[in-house]
Amino acid sequence: MSISITRPSTPPSLAPLLRTSINNQQNQQQQEEDADGDIPMVSSAGDVSIVTPGEVVTSNPQWMRGHGTYLVEDREAGGMNIVATVAGTVQKVNKLLSVRPLKARYQPEIGDLVVGRIVEVQSKRWKVDINSAQNSALLLSSINLPGGILRKRTSTDELQIRTFFSEGDLLVAEVQSLFQDGSASLHTRSLKYGKLRNGYLIRVSSRGIQRARSQVVSLATANGGGEVEVVLGVNGYVWIAKKANTAPTEGVSITRLEEEASEAIYSSKNDFILPATRREIARIGNCIRAMVRCNLRVDEDMLNAVYEVAVEAADQGEENVDASLEGEEGRRVVEIALARKMGL
């Protein structure tokens, strides 16, 4: 039996909106019909073409399938089709064709700087939540000992494993290696890494953080907030804290490890933080959330620009400004910052 399905009639107010979306689709389809019969990564109009699950990306046998795709036999034409499994953009590296999802959980890669939370303490290692598909491992042998002593880890260290990190502690670390199943092993064997205190954690989508030369940003805040340090973990966890005032060290020791990796590095006690600093830390957090909400990627320049606008906005309108930067106000602030950055 032949059936024609009719869609419900749309209310009149939505009609103009729908018409534009249909036009867009037609444009897309025209652009997709390339000479090679495959889909361009970025169309001439500047907007990105999206593929959705089940969509045939190409039937051209010259391409190899990468992440986000699978092969299906084409019954009619013969040969194999590369079909997308996620909604995202098509990426081509040489002859490898992959689909990058619009949003996905963090997938660890060696060398990534991540912020994590200890969820489990085992006899020789910790399990760390880094927002990926599985918890990562931090071995007892891949941390710095207090005092910077370099030696083999003994059973004494194993017994007092909770004096270094215990459940719930936050830390910044680097991905040292990956296991077969994709889970990560971390290390904190640098003075840049280790336990976090004097600040607060915000969690955003890992797609919201731009990989940069340095993931640690130092901001000179307004209103007497002092220096604030932002650790942009590529896994989407962001740590915002008061910058520790390190005394200028004279080059006495060769490694400086002994001096700086003192007992204090595993301290869980927060310093007293002035209300002004707390306010600015919260403002930076709100800026980051607003940027991610506007589908913008956070990096040092952009964060500086948005923070500047947020401070100005708070200075000007005293009562009406929504300091939480939720909703419209956040979008406005981000747009001003973006426009200013484009103008420069």
């Binding site: 399905i5 009719t6 419900p8 089940g54 619009l102 949003k103 598909a133 506007c294 990627r297």
Partner: protein
Amino acid sequence: MIANPVLAISLLTLLCLRIDGRRWNELRRFHAQLSTQPAAADGSSMVEHGNTKVVCTVVGPAEVSQRSKMLHDRASVTVEVTFAAFSGTDRKRRLKSDKRVQEMRTMLQRTFSQAIMTHLHPRSEITISLHVLSQDGGVLAACINATTLGLIDAGIPMSDYVVGMSAGSSSATTSAAVSFEEAADPLLDVNHIEEGELPHLTVATLGATDNITLLTMESKVHLAMMEGMLAAAVDGCRKLREMLDEVVRAHGTEVARNGAL
């Protein structure tokens, strides 16, 4: 407007319209949205089929919540279905241990374990939470569609869209008709009233093909009516896949516009 309800009903039957004024092959107003709770979960969606409204949140692939759920070669899929007490016509709390809710959970879990490429995320868990906010027929179909959108939003790889659709068959005209084949009159996308009166089924298909991944029917029906219902539901699925695809594309273009990709 017709003031007399009896007259209104008879007029509807005269025009071969259904109780809510639709023709047999018309869908209800369909509305869907992605990333409704971006902070609460990895993926979220909201789907409305007429007055049926379902919210879905997807967390994962993440570390397993219980050791027993860990599968060494693939991800495990956990589904939770919650009915809001105010979702039906009479206020009633449905427990999670309710047989009906449990059955729905199992059906969804099996359907999506097949569609999701679970082998790509071994030892992890994908948690799908569904909240039924308002029920007006076709709840299972709405749950399926909401889950598909939620999974796409979470960036979890699937072989294709899984699309659900319900269909019924009106048998009221059998008195005059010669045979069941002639009397069979499929109705697409049944609402709550039709669900109560007529035999109905729910179908889920994988993508634009006729591959049925879920088929459930709880009512007794003559075999001759089955084919029409099934054909209507499968064609409804195909149409709905296009509509879901439009929603995903519109959302993707919006995300991509600011250069977040």
